[in-house]
Amino acid sequence: MEAFLASLVSVAFHGTALGMILYVISVGLSVTMGLMGFANLAHGVFAMAGGYILTTAISRFGMPFPLALALAFVLVAAGSVILERLLYSRLYAASDLEQVLFTIGLIFIAVAVARFIYGTLQQPVFLPDYLKGQFPLLGRDFPTYRVFIIVFSAATVGLLWFGVERTRWGAMVRAAVDNRAMAQSVGINTKRLFTLTFALGSGLAGLGGGLGAEIIAIQPTYPLENLVYFLVVVSVGGLGSLRGPFVAALLIGIADTACKYWLPQYGAFPIYVATIGVLLWRPAGLFGRHA
């Protein structure tokens, strides 16, 4: 019984850490798809870029961890603005198929570039001493870095939600998600809003990729292998919503960890089946508005 309880706590803990990472990475995708109606399958590329930036900054340039994390956010956000202005913005009015093909093309390019620069090996993550070791909590020991992931992500999510719910910028984003034409007609510069929101979402993906580099291995096929996970989070959670993907990410993080722990012989099978079930039951996702 005690052993079972211990494994239960462990699964819940590691699952929450994975779920938090999944959310920080995917929330931007939910907003891009909900706000701009853009099927951006290449979202994982931004997360991978964040991961490579963090690991390179630490291992090659000896940068302290917090600075490397900030760099991952800033560089990815800046890079995404260039991409958005140069390429994405031309395809806002294009069909779903064209957006899907374009972003698959971006994935192929990113995978090839990553392989060319870094090779196929997984990037090691060098953590600072204060994030290594165990963290005692309620009579149990937890890996310090996972505790840090949960706390830091929770703070980021809190900040994001505050921004969207309480600030003027957030009100504009919500208005544009609800009714783009109307938002534009009352004088909101939706074009600039799109660019900023896209940059924020991509930056968060970069942050999540860097933060989670130890959980979701950074290697060239990252955007392909994890695409399903990011899409599951967004589609199960519901497009354009902030809370839906949060619940979905936690559910998936915990379910995935539980499956790997108790039912390793089935692999990711239960997750996919559950996803299919949820989407058939509620095609717009758990918290999505019915289209």
């Binding site: 798809m33 099927a39 390429l87 031309r90 395809l91 294009a94 779903d96 198929l97 064209e98 899907v100 093909l101 374009f102 698959i104 093309g105 971006l106 994935i107 192929f108 390019i109 990113a110 995978v111 090839a112 570039v113 392989r115 060319f116 392909l224 695409l227 399903v228 899409l231 599951v232 967004v234 589609s235 497009l239 012989q265 089935y266 692999g267 990711a268 099978f269 996919y272 089946v273 996803t275 299919i276 989407l279 058939l280 095609p283 717009a284 996702g285 289209a291």
Partner: protein, 325 residues
């Protein structure tokens, strides 16, 4: 839409130019005997791309998971040959087709109730489930090692699969001809026209009383059947099944081929695989790290500048020539 897109109102007779692919295919058989195994692979992928064109180009169903049916066909043929000792190629092919049809019908009936992102996600999830099953059911599929020991008896008891790939090539060509005839018939029928209607405006199709959902399920199942046959052919000609037939990369590759050729015009599915697979044969082995990069750049360029693919570019050039003369 261009004049080549077919439709009920179009003249259904085979135009002379439509014989060109078959003449070229036969010429290839006699003139390039050392490339017949690559040729057979190209023919298989043409059939596979044709099945995708049917649902993507004509019915407008965007899928990232068409490899599920291709892979299922490949595995069914492979398991029959390697585990059940059924070596007759016709029986294997029929079984692969039936498996594709059943899975297509079952999954299509479920997922086609949804639209857009949810539909995309469901196609991806179904393929992932299939991949996961094939990966874990090692005693049937060989798992990550792949399924080897595929034995295929001579076609119709007369034509043995030879090492030069002569039988394989002609066999694939005949199956492709049948598939092409079926797809072409369908596209030029009222059924095909109703599919185009659904793609262009499904609300109006509902309004005029067309059974939109059932039309989509039917065409999806037909497309899955053809994909299953293509998968079966791949197993028979390569005598091996690997997990990659079910992967997302395989579905992505197929999309690239079709887009490269041109969507929604039958012959795009012929041009794309030829260009793609020959380029892959030439470059992918020498420069694997640039291959993926090239594919990605090409996809982006096609979407940005040449939405009709190779045939679309040809259309534009021909139109310009005509205007000048």
């Amino acid at each position: 839409m261009s004049a080549h897109s077919g439709g009920y109102s179009a003249d259904p007779r085979v135009r002379p130019i439509e014989w060109l692919p078959w003449i070229l295919a036969l010429a290839g058989f006699f003139l390039l005997p050392e490339y017949l195994s690559l040729g057979a692979r190209i023919l298989i992928y043409i059939l596979y791309a044709l099945s995708l064109d049917l649902i993507l180009g004509y019915a407008g169903i965007i899928t990232l998971g068409h490899s599920a049916y291709f892979g299922l066909g490949a595995y069914v043929a492979g398991i029959l040959a390697a585990k059940a000792g059924i070596t007759d190629p016709m029986v294997q092919l029929v079984a692969a087709a039936a498996a594709g049809a059943l899975l297509g019908l079952a999954t299509g009936a479920i997922i086609l109730r949804t639209k857009a992102l949810t539909l995309l996600m469901l196609t991806l999830a179904i393929t992932s489930v299939c991949l996961e099953i094939a990966n874990k059911a090692t005693n049937l599929t060989g798992g990550a090692d792949g399924l080897s020991g595929v034995v295929v008896a001579p076609v119709l008891g007369m034509f043995r699969f030879d090492i030069f790939g002569r039988t394989a090539y002609l066999y694939c060509l005949v199956v492709l001809l049948a598939g092409w005839w079926l797809v072409r018939r369908m596209i030029y029928s009222p059924f095909g026209t109703s599919l185009t209607g659904v793609r262009e405006n499904s609300l109006r199709m509902h309004a005029i009383g067309a059974p939109v959902y059932w039309r989509l399920v039917l065409v999806y199942a037909l497309s899955a059947t053809i994909a299953g046959i293509a998968g079966g052919l791949l197993t028979q000609t390569s005598q091996f099944v690997g997990l990659n037939v079910l992967s997302f990369e395989s579905a992505g590759e197929l999309l690239v081929m079709l887009i490269l050729g041109g969507v929604g015009r039958i012959y795009g599915a012929f041009v794309g695989p030829v260009v793609y697979l020959i380029a892959q044969d030439l470059f992918a082995k020498q420069f694997p790290e640039y291959w993926g990069f090239g594919i990605g750049v090409m996809l982006v360029l096609v979407v940005m500048f040449a939405r009709g693919g190779v045939l679309g570019i040809l259309d534009v050039l021909l139109a310009r020539l005509r205007r000048k003369s």
